[in-house]
């Protein structure tokens, strides 16, 4: 169910005052980002349980020019059965209904995904990127139209990209107004706002853009498209997570977080989980509030679980591809 962020009461002027004095200390954030990777670790049963949990956070993604019906179908099947049944049975986890959180595709492939998932008999949501993904450098009108069409085709989550030009030139009010229009165009669909943090220039800008996106009614804020030169990094995540917590303290609304791009190893996934646990707490460790945008990550997690169960390392052909 879509959360109604802060749609009533506050004016946009009041929101803008929240970000006026923000200053992020970059060296301190980099230091914290370095520490978080070294300070928490999980082993043995804990590692396996955490990795299975990570599977349930994945937005299994394919965003390529050569996507066709057949590889979207394969993706959907993998989303339904992310880990080999025998491996889950060995862990006594086969009845937990472990699937990925969603599948994520380009707007033109939404119909394929909806059809494939229906055929597989499951209700995993379909997420679609939109608004001129990945650069967002198209006119507002077609960007809004893209959202409406994707929703019509059956996407229940829309990953929009923001207009980086507005951030870099400091037009926060205009950015707020644009995201408000995205919000309206989504209707009942979830709005995930991609900040493309690799292109925003500074951590202070990232904090401000996060706040604006949440004020304008986003259900999730997401780090990157996966197409920028720099994608999901820990320093950026720390700044965004602190913005989410500040927004929760100010309004009582919990907004979700989605890192995407470059998260490929099971080990990375564990750090991301502990980062959420440390910065926001256990209540954010659920698919309604945390997602990982990834494609090859799932395979590495499955390999690690294979290793835990059998004591051997699997080759890729032993595990079904996505």
């Amino acid at each position: 169910m879509r959360r109604h962020a802060v749609r009533s009461g506050n004016t946009s002027q009041q929101y803008l005052s929240w970000i006026a004095k923000v200053q992020v200390n970059q060296p301190a954030v980099l230091r914290r980002a370095g520490q978080i990777q070294a300070r928490r670790t999980v082993k043995k049963e804990w590692e396996v349980a955490w990795l299975l949990k990570a599977v349930t956070f994945i937005d299994l993604t394919t965003l390529s020019g050569d996507d066709t019906f057949s590889n979207v179908q394969r993706l959907c099947y993998k989303a339904k059965y992310p880990i080999r049944e025998d491996l889950l049975k060995a862990l006594d986890m086969h009845d937990k209904g472990i699937t990925t959180a969603a599948v994520c595709v380009y707007p033109a492939r939404v119909c394929d995904a909806v059809k494939a998932l229906k055929a597989a008999g499951c209700n995993i949501p379909v997420a679609s990127v939109a608004t001129g993904f990945p650069a967002g450098q198209t006119h507002l009108q077609p960007r809004l139209e893209e959202i409406r069409l994707a929703v019509e085709d059956g996407a229940t989550e829309i990953d929009v990209v923001i207009n980086r030009t507005l951030v870099l030139t400091g037009q926060w009010k205009a950015l707020y107004d644009e995201i408000r229009q995205f919000r309206k165009a989504c209707g009942e669909a979830h709005l995930k706002t991609i900040l493309a943090t690799g292109e925003l220039g500074s951590l202070t800008n990232i904090y401000k853009a996060s706040m604006i996106a949440m004020m304008a009614g986003s259900d999730f804020i997401k780090t990157s498209t996966g197409k920028e030169a720099v994608n999901a990094t820990f320093p950026v995540a720390i700044v965004m997570l602190r913005a989410i917590r500040d927004f929760f303290w100010k309004t009582g609304n919990k907004i979700g977080f989605k890192p995407a791009g470059g998260i490929r190893s099971a080990k990375d996934a564990l750090v991301w989980l502990s980062l959420i646990k440390e910065e926001l707490g256990d209540e954010w460790l659920k698919p309604e509030l945390f997602r990982i945008g990834a494609s090859t990550l799932l395979l590495d997690i499955e390999k690690q679980i294979f290793h835990h169960g059998t004591g051997r390392h699997a080759t890729y052909h032993e595990l079904p591809m996505s």
């Binding site: 301190a28 070294a38 049963e45 006594d92 986890m93 460790l285």
Partner: protein
């Protein structure tokens, strides 16, 4: 397979998403303890010393309470044996070339690297500190530290020409200390050629292991000796005549007691270990809170942290701090994912007593100051005033001819002078070094006009005309040599901290200086110039026998310098020195006089531990560059402040 395991199953963890244990093996530490038959003595002169008939203390795992080993408590004779070993080793070690010592220290760093797993495991096991702290911070930094000081030793003949190692250094460590704190004190002492006797509390195995590693290098076995014994042995070490310098690190009260018992030995104190953190409204609060957490709850320093938060961000900062504290993980030290080792019931009770004490405390009452009526005859607040006791003393030359009367300074004059100096201090300290140097330059120019007066003044004291002229000329040079700003020791360094590090020399505050009797003009001017250059404000006591040249200088000082910046008190050195040493609001005291007076100054300064510099009765050649100027003055006249300048966004 899963059903045979104890502990929670994957299913359960999947729901709770708890952290699990990440145990590190303690096998290597236990194996090392086994090599000692689980009995730890002392490590002296490259050998284990396990004297019989000593009290034993169990070394316990602070978390489980398991017994790890038993330790023999040292007695005074064991300390003496260690000091003697260090004394013997000193002859050989100090006569080595710097390059030789550098090589030996590098070998010790290598030995630490080779055995680092044993070192961190043992340290974490015996102290309960989080293994991550010891492994990732103490061990690499200890090696870096040794390599750094090896570099210093290598360059020593050039950089510290004319300096001599003092001899045997006694290191006294408190019940809670870190491996790194210990290395910080051992490495520089060894580098310059001193040898070390460390007195550690009983049941601390890591220093013993370190000493063993150093001893097993073969050459120079006696340079590092470790004795474990109780606090009463401290004075036995500190007052041993062969111990030239004592380094103590620990609680304020213990430092005070030590200062009182070992006057006559040079003592360097690092007390309280309480750092002050200021959190202002311009800060990135979350990052600042991370900094506070790192400083206060990371098993790094045994000291506390005093945190001052600007009122406008109080609520925001405290809320963040509370939220962050709920995420701290406490557990067994040898667990790779805890932030702090578990603290015992005693520590908890102590913390609660502090909280209780703070809650009961009334707001501090304002300090009462005796009212001051400025009507004395000393040079205070920029003019000559009648002294508090209305007493004057005659000044005569060697033949008995009377040259004048000077004020007999009293406790009240001292109080006035210190107060005046405090008033002048802030604006003087905030002047740029160049501006301060320019004023000294102007003073030199003004004194040039008085050259004949000053010369005849010195001649009347019994100096030959040539020597008198030379002293005046040299005094003027001393005022001018601070013109070059690079002499002020400001440096900018690039480090790995993301941002340059600026090293500044900060003023000490109000500095009291008791000048020597000899060189009545030169010593006075040299000390005045050095202290003023570094931004201190002064209470000076010129030569007791012949203060007239200094008072001549005051005539010019009153025209040029802000009132109260330089105050000059005359009279009995012993009396004025006593008042200054006992004055708690003078930040530092330099004393050039008798050996007895030096001892008194050290003893009396223990009250608030002001920094002191005394000459122990040794005369100084003020007309020589090495003793009358040089880096020693710079180090004494200022404190070093390091500013890290983080940048980027």
């Amino acid at each position: 397979m899963a059903e045979t395991r104890a502990g929670p199953q994957v299913r359960e963890i999947f729901n709770t998403m708890e952290y699990g244990p990440v145990p590190e093996s303690d096998a290597c530490a236990l194996a090392w303890l086994d090599t000692q038959n689980r009995q730890l003595g002392h490590y002296v002169d490259g050998k284990w010393l396990k004297p019989g008939q000593r009290k034993t203390v169990p070394c316990l795992d602070p978390i489980t309470g398991d017994s790890l080993a038993v330790c023999f408590e040292a007695q005074a004779e064991d300390v003496v044996a260690a000091v003697e070993a260090a004394q013997t080793a000193f002859t050989d070690w100090s006569s080595q070339a710097g390059a030789q010592r550098a090589q030996h220290l590098t070998r010790l760093a290598k030995a630490i690297q080779k055995h680092q797993k044993l070192l961190w495991t043992l340290e974490s096991l015996a102290t309960g500190r989080a293994v991550r702290e010891v492994r990732d911070r103490d061990m690499p930094l200890a090696q870096q530290l040794l390599c750094y000081h090896a570099g210093q030793a290598y360059a020593q003949e050039k950089a510290l020409a004319g300096w001599e190692p003092v001899g045997v250094v006694g290191l006294i460590l408190p019940p809670t200390f870190t491996f790194l704190e210990m290395m910080r004190r051992i490495a520089p002492a060894l580098a310059v050629g001193c040898t070390v006797v460390a007195l550690v509390p009983p049941a601390c195995p890591t220093p013993l292991l370190l000493a063993q590693l150093a001893g097993e290098l073969g050459a120079f076995p006696g340079i590092l000796n470790v004795v474990s014994g109780p606090a009463p042995l401290r004075s036995a070490l500190a007052s041993h005549p062969a111990v030239q310098k004592v380094a103590f690190y620990g609680a304020v009260e213990e430092g005070r007691a030590l200062r009182r018992t070992c006057t006559g030995t040079e003592l360097s104190l690092a007390l309280g270990a309480e750092s002050l953190l200021l959190l202002t409204e311009t800060a990135d609060l979350d990052s600042a809170v991370e900094g506070v957490v790192d400083a206060a709850w990371s098993d790094r320093s045994p000291g506390g942290v005093r945190l001052l938060i600007q009122e406008s961000v109080w609520d925001e900062a405290v809320r963040r701090l509370q939220a962050r504290m709920t995420r701290l993980r406490v557990g067994r030290g040898l667990d790779g994912a805890v932030d702090m080792g578990t603290r015992g019931a005693a520590a908890i009770a102590q913390a609660e007593s502090y909280v209780h004490q703070a809650q009961k405390q009334d707001p501090p009452s304002p300090l009462s100051h005796p009212s001051s009526v400025p009507r004395y005859g000393c040079f205070v607040k920029g003019r000559f005033q009648a002294p508090g006791g209305q007493n004057f003393r005659p000044i005569q030359d060697l033949s008995g001819t009377l040259h004048g009367y000077v004020a007999e300074g009293t406790a009240k004059d001292v109080q006035d002078a210190v107060e005046a100096a405090h008033q002048a201090a802030p604006s003087w300290a905030s002047q740029s070094p160049e501006a301060r140097a320019a004023l000294l330059w102007a003073l030199a120019a003004a004194l040039e006009h008085r050259e004949s007066v000053l010369t005849s003044c010195l001649e009347r004291q019994g100096k030959g005309p040539k020597a008198a002229q030379e002293e005046v000329k040299q005094s003027l040079e001393r005022l001018r040599e601070w013109r070059t700003p690079q002499a002020l020791g400001r440096t900018l360094q690039a480090t790995g901290l993301r941002g340059p590090v600026l090293q500044l020399q900060e003023p000490l505050g109000v500095l009291a200086i008791v000048c020597p009797d000899e060189w009545p003009l030169l010593a006075f001017v040299t000390l005045l110039a050095t202290a003023l250059t570094y931004g201190n404000s002064l209470v000076m006591v010129p030569s007791e026998d012949y203060p007239l040249p200094a008072l001549e200088v005051c005539q010019e000082v009153s025209d040029l310098f802000p009132a109260g910046l330089v105050n000059v008190l005359t009279g009995s050195h012993d009396h004025v020195t006593r008042c200054l040493a006992l004055h708690q609001d003078a930040q530092a005291l330099w004393y050039f006089g008798s050996a007895q007076g030096s001892q008194f100054v050290e003893w009396a300064s223990a009250g608030h531990l002001k920094s002191v510099w005394v000459n122990r009765g040794a005369p100084r050649a003020w007309d020589q560059e090495t003793q009358g100027a040089g880096p020693e003055f710079r180090l004494r006249a200022s404190r070093t402040k390091i500013l890290w300048l983080p940048m980027g966004d």
